[in-house]
Amino acid sequence: MVKMILTGNESAAWGARLSRPKVVAAYPITPQTSIIETIAEFIANGEMDARYIRVESEHSAMAACIAAQNTGVRTFTATSAHGLTLMHELLIWASGARLPIVMSVVNRAMAPPWSVWTDQMDSMAQRDTGWLQIYVENNQEVLDSIIMSYKIGEKHHILLPTMVMEDAFILSHTAEAVDVPDQKLVDDFIGDYDPPFKLEPGNPEGYGSLIMPEDPYMEYRYMIAQAMDDARNEIRKTVEEFAETFGREYAPLVEEYKTEDADAIMVVLGTIGSTAKDVIDSMREKGKKIGLARVRYFRPFPYEEIRALAKKADMLGIVDRSYTFGYGANLYTESKAALYGHSQVPVKNYVMGLGGRDIKPELLVKVFEDMLKIARGGQVDKEIEWVGLQGDERWSI
């Protein structure tokens, strides 16, 4: 193990390097670019043994990864925002073809207007593509999650791709101390890639042919649904094995912080978690009983963990850094769906930080105060509240 000062993107490149993909296909996009630049340097210096396909688009990046992985090798790619949404068709293809590709996604806002700053709409719009989705909080988690994603995805009863999300700039371009594990430990932890099927001359199999309604299209989709459900236990198992091997512990699907006696629990994705933990510490000194649940895996959705949270607190405040035009944001609507029929605790959606707007501690203090008011028996005044809009006095700080 070596301690290095790495940005989130360098951590992603290290996670890829240590996992030994044989093919990397990638296309540059801000703020992902330094991931694929770092990988290029690793390969150019002979430190990483992979074929590097400098494709002409993200759509082709995913197509090349799909074809390479189907030929029998581990693959890696990385993207953001418009690159990710351009891939959409092939994201569905990758999971349908049961190929455990791993991809770094640097969460960035979608245009128009052009914005390169963090916002999770890009990956939220890929919710239904059949990929595991993990949202991380720091650079160490970026690196470790890539390694774990290969191990989880490649299990023959899972065989699903994973996207590992890091918030643009907040992680991607911010350096912090990261433990870079020994290659030997990672090799032993992941093992060789051992696909149950691959393209091979002499074995005239076809992958993805036309299928009639009476043939098992529906059964293949059911198998994906089952694999995604099974992934929950595989994640639980893998974080334990990871802790044994590398000495770092991760909560499997949802990380909880000071929830045990909390009156109100804020539920978040990504780096908002770090800010919230600081705010919780300082507010708890003033006697405010608040806690945090940081959802790591959004797919598969941790519905049991969300239900358990509702048993602990009198109110859940769900924070989304994206929006689904028409009704609420994804973390909120899915949490509420999980709670329906299981809990009566009030739930409120706080939409904030879109287009990279800074989520300052002072703003979270106000949100926590609002949550506590509801927890103490107040009404949910607004089911879905946009927090921090210009000119909105209520949230001005």
Binding site: S60, A63, A64, I66, A68, Q69
Partner: protein, 300 residues
């Protein structure tokens, strides 16, 4: 007696689902005969996504990766690099795509793949329209043709723009091998494929493949239509090796385009004046090709 140069080995089994008289099916049979069993195919959305057979049956003796419509170039890049990473550099990697998937929606991935120089075959089987979806105009549809999206009507809305010349677009990428071929000249096609097999890098083929269903000719005329396309210079047969052109079939006395057009219902509406315009376009293209051949040979 002439020696048969077409390999006897078959890598296509009976039972495919193509239309009667399908030129693209004959094209595949010859391509596999020339390249052999040590081949991996990738096929996007196109007629050939259906022709191999419906799940779980397949008529091909080589492994096959079906892909999305626009990704053939990227898919064969991925297969090639994965094989190379595993030390399997001897396997032929072949993309087999229609003209819509090549000239239109797939041209970006194709351009990227050949520019990157992967050791791949890209085969465009050109049936001059989106035939799998039922005869819609593509960039490769020839001037004057009827399709369901250029249906004529009162405004004579046919396809009046010239056919996009994909082979020349490939030549402009400075790749080692570009060729045109058609099913009426199997020995020409197979000898080109075998020559290309010896060349490392991107190899592009445009195989002219008559479609009786879409071109509205009798299914027993497929080979005749293919032959006439060459004899009228509507579809010249040539190859370009490292920028050097060689026309492989040169009609001594080119036949008038009218003979080719009148075999096909898709051109039935054309007036004498319109046929004359098409003839001029063909003559101009043929002269340009002869010049390219001469110029590129002179460079030595």
């Amino acid at each position: 007696m002439r020696k048969l140069t077409i390999p006897e080995e078959e890598y296509m089994l009976p039972g495919h689902t193509a239309c009667l008289g399908c030129g693209a099916t004959i094209a595949m049979r010859y391509v596999l005969k020339a390249l052999g069993k040590n081949t991996i195919l990738s096929i996007p959305a196109c007629c050939w996504a259906v022709i191999p057979g419906v799940y779980p049956r397949r008529t091909l003796e080589v492994p096959l990766l079906y892909t999305a419509f626009e990704v053939t170039g990227a898919a064969i890049s991925g297969i090639r690099e994965a094989l190379n990473a595993m030390g399997k550099e001897d396997v032929n990697v072949v993309g087999f795509a229609g003209d819509g998937g090549t000239a239109d929606i797939g041209i970006q991935a194709l351009s990227g793949a050949v520019e990157r120089g992967h050791d791949i075959f890209y085969i465009m089987y050109d049936n001059e329209a989106y035939m799998n979806t039922g005869i819609q105009r593509s960039g490769s549809t020839p001037m004057g043709a009827w399709t369901t999206t250029t249906p004529g009507g009162k405004k004579r809305m046919y396809k009046w723009e010239p056919k996009k010349n994909v082979a020349e677009i490939m030549v402009a990428h400075n790749i080692p091998y570009v060729a045109t071929a058609t099913i009426a000249y199997p020995e020409d096609m197979i000898s080109k494929l075998k020559r290309a097999k010896e060349i490392k890098g991107p190899k592009f083929f445009q195989i002219f493949s008559p479609c009786p269903t879409g071109w509205k000719h009798s299914p027993d005329k497929t080979v005749e239509v293919s032959r006439l396309a060459v004899q009228t210079n509507a579809f010249p047969l040539y190859e370009v090796i490292n920028g050097k052109y060689r026309i492989t079939v040169k009609p001594k006395h080119p036949k008038p385009i009218k003979e080719y057009l009148r075999l096909q219902g898709r051109f039935r509406h054309l007036t004498e004046e319109e046929i004359e315009l098409i003839q001029k376009e063909i003559d101009r293209n043929w002269k340009a090709l002869l010049k390219k051949e001469r110029c590129s040979q002179e460079e030595e």
